[in-house]
């Protein structure tokens, strides 16, 4: 199946506003939980600056969960199992567990976050493109715009952090040496 065909096949799983909001809620919740987990990991590995940044992102995503829940007030949102969503694997906004390194820098954190916000934009745009329901399209467009705004904000953050030089992940005293 080609990428557009896949997007259209998946969009059939989002037939109405309730389905869309259920997806948006999972998206923010998975992203928030993963950021919190990554903050914990970085604390354990004494990378405190990065830990603080992941924690901040987790707090921001948690606010988004509340915002999506408010949008769904009075609606009966379906309870979807993790594997019943219209995306492969985890939600587009969740950082994947293997995307991190114990020596990563704030630059990497913001770059990863931007990458996932862009994937979230693409997801909502695919709903707009593949639906004929005006109400659903309008809400998906609103959510896509919200995510575009996050991409813009992260872009502003990113300029504060210099791109680390090659070799940033080299550790002269690594915690795990092969024996």
């Amino acid at each position: 199946m080609s990428a557009p065909e896949q997007a259209s096949a998946r969009s059939t799983l989002i037939a109405n506003v309730e389905d869309l909001l259920a997806h948006a809620r999972t998206m923010e919740a998975e992203a928030a939980e993963r950021y919190d987990d990554l903050a914990d990991q970085m604390e354990v590995h004494n990378n405190h600056e990065v830990a603080r940044l992941f924690r901040k992102l987790a707090e921001i995503e948690a606010k988004h969960i509340a915002a999506v829940e408010a949008m769904g007030d009075g609606l009966d949102l379906p309870e979807l199992k993790p594997w019943e969503h219209a995306w492969d694997n985890e939600s587009p906004e969740a950082t994947e567990v293997d995307e991190v390194h114990y020596l990563m820098t704030p630059y990497h954190v913001i770059s990863i976050a931007m990458h996932h916000e862009k994937k979230a934009v693409e997801f909502f745009e695919s709903v707009v493109e593949n639906s004929a329901d005006p109400k659903l399209r309008e809400m998906a467009e609103g959510l896509a715009e919200e995510e575009r705004e996050h991409v813009r904000l992260l872009g502003e953050w990113l300029v504060r952090y210099p791109k680390p030089e090659k070799g940033w992940d080299e550790d002269p005293d690594p915690p795990n040496l092969q024996e």
Partner: protein, 279 residues
């Protein structure tokens, strides 16, 4: 362990303990932890009715990170411990977790007999084809030519152990392979494995990013199996003959009745109890 006192259903987060994992950031075992906690929430289990049992290894640390009962046991001995627990407390959901070293080297014999005995539990092996905790030695599932191990210069030189083949030949009642890079797909398989009666075996390809960094590619190279699972062991065996180790999803779903001895209300003496375990 905190338990479900409020009426609100528990979420995956509620099944994570307050202990922060010490795994290397990027380790595949984080994905498996996410799958397990998601599946406990989806199955609406209560922490006090779940026991996660393990041996020793990085992967075997999982019981500490899950909000349920757990036992971080002796290297290679998680399965006999879990069998004892399940037959005496059949109402518990028993999950056994560990690595390929723990399960197929020192614990290899227990693996055969756990499949054969078919007690109702789920065994999740986080297979990274290396001993992570002891710093990068070859394990039973390491390929013959892996030349990076300091104890095995030039590679172990022997064919790797094939966990799914052994599980099938030994009588496991549900057999599947997953990738930790797909936590939600893994959660789906784990939900089936836990619900299926008897001994369920789930191999999860879980990269060791420190000693086998090339395993990050599993995320791209694994693929859902193009065929549905079978209940025919001969057909499952034929599939395994052409398996390259990268197909994911359930392979075999059997119908053998689980082993569950009749429980006595009380035991008069230990010798009588011992008799029940003799085969």
């Amino acid at each position: 362990m905190s338990t479900n006192t409020a009426s609100k259903p528990l979420t995956a987060k509620d099944f994570k303990s307050d202990v922060k994992p010490v795994w290397c950031p990027g380790c595949g075992d984080f994905g498996v932890l996410s799958s397990l906690t998601k599946v406990f929430a989806e199955l609406k289990l209560s922490p006090e009715n779940v026991a996660v049992i393990s041996g020793i290894g990085c992967s075997s640390r999982i019981p500490a990170y899950v909000n349920s009962y757990g036992f971080h046991g002796v290297h290679g001995r998680a399965l006999p411990l879990a069998i004892g627990l399940k037959v005496s407390r059949p109402e518990l959901t028993v999950i056994v977790t560990g690595g390929d070293g723990d399960g197929f080297s020192i614990g290899g014999n227990h693996f055969l007999h756990a499949c054969r005995r078919n007690v109702d539990m789920t065994y999740v092996v986080m297979d990274n084809q290396v001993y992570g905790m002891t710093k990068g030695q070859a394990s039973p599932t390491t390929e013959a030519t892996w030349a990076k191990g300091k104890l095995t210069p030039g590679g172990p030189g022997i064919n790797p152990f094939h966990p799914l083949v052994i599980a099938l030949a030994s009588g496991a009642n549900y057999i599947a392979r997953c990738s930790s890079g797909d936590p939600n797909g893994t959660a789906k398989v784990l939900a089936e494995a836990i619900a299926h009666p008897g001994f369920s075996f789930v191999q999860v390809l879980s990269p060791c990013v420190t000693y086998r960094p090339e395993q990050r590619d599993w995320k791209k190279s694994t693929r859902p199996s193009p065929v549905e699972p079978t209940d025919d062991p001969a057909r499952a065996a034929r599939r395994l003959m052409s398996d390259d180790g990268l197909n994911t999803g359930p392979l075999y779903v059997g119908s053998r009745a689980p082993y569950q001895p009749e429980l006595k209300a009380s035991v008069e003496n230990l010798a009588d109890l011992e008799q029940e375990f003799l085969v």
